[in-house]
């Protein structure tokens, strides 16, 4: 299972987002000025307190929200609305309830026009990454939350996106399952090296997963911190690790000071 990803960088340049809030009766600036460069194959975590603009930023990168100012480019080409080049994993899983797990994962390939047989094969291939090939015929509401989100992750991956955007994907899942999912995610990332942008409010999670942690505050970048912890990362080891604890508390104090 090679990487299969072309060399693509994501450049966010002085991006801002302002919209009119009818309840406040005034303009609200969710994102003031954010610049960020994400290189091919990097795993970036974006942390920050509520209202710091991290979800708005992700929605702009994904193309769900228009940009008010600045630019977002993939390899110098500006993004235009949502597309298969930027895959998204949702906090609510967003699996299509009337399609089987296999049909969900094969959705992206089907949109690209591949024949059904190939889509099914691709689906099985990616489902086996998370050990779920045996539930390909089941419907999403027959699965547990953890299993559903695994499907959500591989559904996005099966489309070979340039960037994988993850919006607090493990927030709806219980703590134990969350830790398992985090470890699985890093494992998949190590094998396939997609570019991942991971939004979370959980500081420990952000440090555990990423190469770089970007702290946002009030619509701006507060800190861009490299994480030089060894991989593979396993919770039992890292919980006692001094470097991990130091980095976590650094990030935490930054987030809290925001």
């Amino acid at each position: 299972m090679g990487s299969g990803y072309a060399m693509k960088n994501l450049t966010i340049q002085n991006v801002s987002k302002t919209y009119f809030d009818p309840y406040a009766g005034a303009n609200v600036t969710a994102v003031h000025d954010i610049s960020l460069k994400v290189n091919q194959g990097e795993f970036i975590s974006i942390v920050g307190p509520s209202g710091c603009g991290k979800t708005t930023l992700l929605n702009m990168i994904a193309g769900f929200l228009p940009i008010s100012g600045g630019s977002i480019n993939i390899d110098d080409k500006p993004i235009k609305g949502p597309g298969a080049d930027r895959g998204v994993v949702f906090q609510t899983f967003a699996l299509f309830p009337w399609k089987t797990v296999g049909e969900n994962v094969g959705f992206g390939p089907r949109m690209r026009g591949l024949p059904k047989k190939e889509c099914d094969q691709i689906a099985l291939e990616f489902l086996s990454l998370v050990g779920l090939e045996h539930v390909a015929q089941k419907y999403p509401n027959e699965l547990s939350g953890g299993m559903q989100q695994r499907v959500g992750v591989v559904r996005a991956l099966a489309n070979n996106p340039d960037v994988l955007l993850m919006d607090e994907p493990f927030a709806s899942v219980d703590a134990q399952t969350r830790m398992t999912l985090q470890e699985e995610l890093t494992k998949i990332w190590q094998e396939r090296r997609p570019t991942i942008l991971f939004i979370t409010h959980d500081v420990a999670e952000s440090v555990f997963l990423a190469d770089r942690v970007v702290v946002l505050s009030k619509g701006r970048v507060l800190e861009d911190m490299p994480i030089q912890l060894q991989r593979p990362r396993v919770w039992e080891n890292l919980i006692e690790d001094d470097a991990f604890k130091a980095l976590s508390s650094q990030v935490l104090s930054k987030v809290r000071s925001a």
């Binding site: 193309g63 895959g87 949702f90 967003a94 009337w98 955007l165």
Partner: protein, 268 residues
Amino acid sequence: MMILLKAWSVYLRIAAKFPIIQTILPFIPLVIAWALVTEYEVFPRAFLPGPVDVINAFGTLTYKGVLTQYLEDSVVRLAVGASVGVAIGIPLGLLIGLSDRVREAVWPILLFFQAIGDIAWLPILLVWFGFSLTTMTLIIVYTVLFPIVLNTSLGVRSVSTDLHRAALSLGASKLRVVWEVVLPGALPNIMTGLRNGLGYGWRALIATEIIVGTSGIGFMMFDARRAGSVVEILLGMVVLGTLWYVVDSWVLAPIERATGKRWGLVTQ
């Protein structure tokens, strides 16, 4: 006391195996009461014939082929009207559900015309198209349209934003999102709209046949009334009610439940 409870538990077990019994059983005392009332001539026989008379009439009319013909006429009209209503209603409901602009422009008009009601259109349709099949079909289309449009638009709006976005981020074009996500997502509501629409359509059909029909069950009832023959009126009502009850409970309701349940969208 124990005997009663034992009998009751036997009944429950049989009913669980054969749900049809639970449906039919309550009608038995009703029919018996009816038969008794007519037997003791509580009301004059001409006003309230008994169940036996109705069954006889059923036999005669079926034998003569009259009942089956009328039934066929009524059902065909409903089918035609409903099909047209669905063909117009679902796309319209889709449009209203998808576009806020369209919704704001069209909604008040829809509500007002729904308030006028189906039967109120009969006189003017008679002026335009006379006592014809067109008139009847149009009334049914009109009646069926509103539940379908309203429920479809409700269903469309109930499809979560995340599902839209998920499809878009997987490479679906806006049109494909409608086909792959919005329509299936709205299906449980569409089924509800269809079920309600057919119910209203059935009633509107009978009303139209009573007022201006030349054939069909409603006409049969009205004609019998003119002839003073209560038996056929009662027969018509029994046939009407039974037919709809059967179709609604054993075909439409299960489909509605099944889609909602499978989609995991029904919280009950």
